[in-house]
């Protein structure tokens, strides 16, 4: 909300006219069609069964249905990129809500987007840098290192010999996204019209819009990367790629080439002689230092953005979704965790208040109930310093159930980060203990 104002990119504006009308209509139809097919494939058979008196579907039948639906959604997302991929990524982190068949397919969004042809990428870079490629790079790989939702990354070499990664925004992606968002808003409205008890999708969409706005501004991204890099300048366990801002624009980001083992690849980590528990501890240290101590952070610790080098350094990439936290937020968060750990309800209420939680009626009881629900969802029945995925989704469920509670959006983002980290920790057979990371133990 706040920062978005000052930013260059406003996605809530009307789709611009420059995007070909036919493309726009095509995209709208594709999304609408898939939504309709998905919706009806679940609703129609159960309605038909109800009407004809047949028993509801079996688990196996349902599983097959999920499988097919997930494949359909993934295909659409990969075809359309942009917002659809972002949505799939978001959904793929919610294994508490969606069946495993879904998650398995949607997860591929992290690294299975088909690349755009080199000629397209070259054109963007040359238009942005206002120079032919050869005037800046001595080498530029035709095949990308990775292609993601908004951009594609190519390995290249500068004239002075330095190896770099060049992140290039897809052409017209801003327009495409604007159009997608408008479509989704339309679909949400239609859905809310038909469903007697709709999920509140529009606020989510607004937040997504803000975040994508950040991610489309590579100058902002580069600045955050530099800040985080400075924060860990003295820490040998952390590797943040150096940014070359002079060579970049809002749509092209040139940075040091880095690499390593994917953070969730436990086998490879062990094969490199590293202890996954140490790796997790270092990773937690990085996020706790950013969020609790420094007050600005990379808010997107999905496994595609994190690597471990052979020497055991943690590589953090992709500062597209980075944020600054209000003053005192870190201490408030610490006090909240502390009060959860000690079951101190007075302190919990104070911490919720410090973090900006408000209730529309002034009644603070809902927050206590939320805290109790969260703690009861941890496996030991007490808070051991880890926001598990279960606890975080319990938090959001509780908030959704309670119309009077208002939750600061910064808290939502931070909770998502810790829940993602908890997911990685479990893959590595470890824990994401925030308090332990803080005390160095």
């Amino acid at each position: 909300m706040d920062a978005a104002r000052g930013d260059r990119i406003h996605l809530d504006a009307k789709p611009s006219r420059c995007m070909n009308l036919r493309t726009r209509i095509q995209r709208t139809i594709k999304v609408g069609w898939t939504a309709a097919v998905v919706w009806s494939s679940y609703k129609l058979p159960s309605t038909a069964r109800r009407l004809t008196g047949r028993p509801p579907r079996t688990d196996a039948e349902l599983s097959q249905r999920h499988e097919r639906t997930a494949r359909r959604i993934l295909a659409l997302a990969l075809d359309m990129r942009g917002v659809m991929i972002k949505m799939c990524q978001a959904l793929a982190t919610r294994s508490d809500v969606f069946p495993p068949e879904f998650i398995a397919h949607l997860k591929q969004c992290h690294d299975a987007v088909p690349p755009k042809p080199y000629s397209v990428i070259q054109a963007v870079v040359e238009r942005e840098l206002k120079k032919p490629l050869a005037a800046v790079f001595s080498e530029f790989d035709q095949a990308p290192l990775a292609s993601a939702s908004l951009a594609q990354v190519h390995r290249a070499r500068l004239l002075d010999g330095r190896e770099v990664a060049v992140k290039v925004q897809y052409p017209d992606i801003e327009d495409i996204i604007r159009n997608d968002l408008a479509n989704m808003r339309r679909i949400c409205r239609i859905y809310e019209f038909f469903d007697p008890q709709p999920l509140a999708l529009l606020p989510l969409l607004t937040e997504l819009t803000n975040h994508i706005g950040y991610e489309l501004d590579f100058v902002r991204e580069g600045k955050f990367a530099e800040r985080v890099r400075a924060l860990f300048a003295a820490d040998e366990q952390v590797k943040i790629p150096e940014i070359y801002p002079d060579l970049g624009t809002h749509r092209v980001l040139v940075m040091e080439l880095v690499g390593g083992i994917k953070i969730t690849d436990k086998k490879k980590i062990e094969a490199a002689g590293l202890d996954p528990v140490d790796v997790m501890q270092d990773l937690m240290h990085i996020y706790v230092r950013m969020i609790l101590a420094a007050g600005f952070f990379q808010a997107d610790p999905h496994p595609g953005n994190l690597f471990v080098t052979e020497e055991g350094k943690i590589v953090v990439l992709d500062f597209g979704l980075s944020k600054e936290l209000p003053e005192g937020f870190g201490l408030g968060l610490f006090e909240l965790m502390f009060s959860l750990m000690t079951f101190n309800e007075t302190a919990m209420l104070r911490a919720f208040d410090e973090l900006g939680f408000r209730s529309k009626t002034g009644d603070t009881k809902p927050f206590l109930l939320i805290a109790r629900r969260m703690v009861s969802r941890s496996d030991s029945g007490s808070f051991e310093g880890e926001f598990t995925e279960e606890m975080t989704s319990e938090l959001f469920d509780a908030i959704r159930d309670d119309p009077i509670a208002q939750v600061p959006s910064d808290f939502v983002l931070v909770a998502r980060v810790f829940s993602l980290l908890s997911g990685i920790a479990h893959t590595l057979g470890s824990r994401a203990n925030v308090l332990a990371a803080m005390s160095g133990g």
Partner: protein, 362 residues
């Protein structure tokens, strides 16, 4: 006091509930409007929380050990580095309007006290099978039977009763009148990261969980013992009417904390002394004297704490202090006066414990 504590001399086995039980107080301890643990007898004596049975129990375990002819671990005070800034220096700063470093220091102490709660998360292996001698009726046998839990609750508070964390906050806020907390305390606590020594276990032949537990307990014990310096500092400073808005309340609060710490030092000292008096079974069916293991840990910890750690912390702090002094009218003179109040300190050459596994010992 004895009527409340009902000590049962010689009793060696307790339930968890007993070790967590507090006596009856005539009056609770309220610190800066926050209910804290512990309380007062009719005559105004402060009574630490959860000591009704815990205090006599620790006494009995300790007595049995010494009666059997074993010695108790003793960490000489001479190893304890002095506080920096010391009381006189801290007072000088406050008198010159340089408050931030003192507020920061007090806040960090309160947070670090709170982290004490993590002792309840220590993984404790099945001790009975790891020692040659029996463990019945020892402090060791009661670690998960209330000792760790009582310790955790004392440090961080439990339910709506504040613990040492809240008591230090109260002492700070009473003495310095609810000062603004510097925004960098958590950054300071996380500090500069030390490179993890990839040494692996020091005693690969013993159960890794046992090694981790004993190393951790040794570390906590030394910290608890060295904390004595912090209490004396806190009392000396916060009960000084020249700089404290509420010298009695603030000074008393720190002395209550100091009193609560006694059982922490004592149960850890007793349990680790029990290990020293015993024999540990190794994973390859051999044996190793407990004293070899504990002395190794204590040597390493004391060596590090009295040398490198102490020097690093001082350097870190000094930088920050000089910066903070800029708010004073004459920072240069202040720094000179400040330095003149410093006491030289060199750690003793020996820790008093023998290392058999360090590179130097080989």
């Amino acid at each position: 006091m004895s009527t409340v504590h009902e000590p049962e001399p010689g009793r060696l086995v307790y339930t968890e509930q007993e070790l967590l039980a507090s006596g009856d107080y005539a009056e609770p301890l309220i610190a800066n409007e926050i209910r804290c643990h512990g309380g007062f007898l009719e005559d105004g004596t402060y009574l630490s929380p959860r000591t009704q049975h815990r205090a006599p129990a620790i006494h009995a375990w300790k007595q049995r050990l010494t009666q059997q002819g074993h010695e108790l671990i003793d960490i000489p005070r001479s190893l304890m580095p002095p506080q920096y800034p010391n009381v006189a220096q801290a007072k000088l700063l406050l008198c010159n309007g340089v408050r931030e470093p003192i507020v920061r220091a007090l806040t960090i102490i309160s947070i670090v006290e709170g982290f004490g709660a993590m002792i309840r998360d220590v993984r404790v292996p099945k001790l009975e099978s790891l020692f040659v001698e029996a463990l019945e009726g020892t402090a060791l046998a009661h670690l998960t039977q209330g000792l760790f839990e009582a310790h955790a609750r004392d440090e961080s508070g439990y339910r709506d009763e504040g613990g040492h964390k809240q008591m230090w906050e109260a002492a700070r806020d009473e003495a310095l009148e609810n000062p603004k907390i510097p925004g960098d305390v958590l950054m300071r606590i996380m500090g500069r990261r030390q490179k993890r020594a990839k040494t692996g276990p020091i005693f690969p032949e013993i159960d890794p969980q046992l090694e981790r537990m004993l190393a951790f307990m040794s570390q906590v014990m030394v910290i608890e013992i060295f904390a004595e310096g912090t209490f004396e500092w806190g009392i000396g400073l916060l009960s000084d009417p020249e700089i404290s808005a509420n010298p009695k309340a603030a000074g008393d609060m720190v002395s209550f904390i100091q009193q609560d710490e006694k059982p922490h030092v004592e149960y850890l000292r007793t349990a680790l002394s029990e290990v020293r008096a015993r024999t540990i079974r190794t994973v390859d069916e051999k044996e190793i004297p407990g004293s070899v293991v504990i002395d190794e840990f204590l040597h390493r910890i004391l060596h590090a704490m009295s040398r490198n750690r102490q020097r690093d912390q001082r350097d870190d702090l000094r930088e920050n202090l000089i910066q903070a002094m800029q708010v004073a009218q004459d920072p240069k003179t202040l720094l000179e006066e400040f330095d003149a109040l410093d006491q030289a300190w060199t750690p003793p050459a020996e820790t008093g414990f023998t290392s058999t596994r360090s590179p130097a010992a080989a």
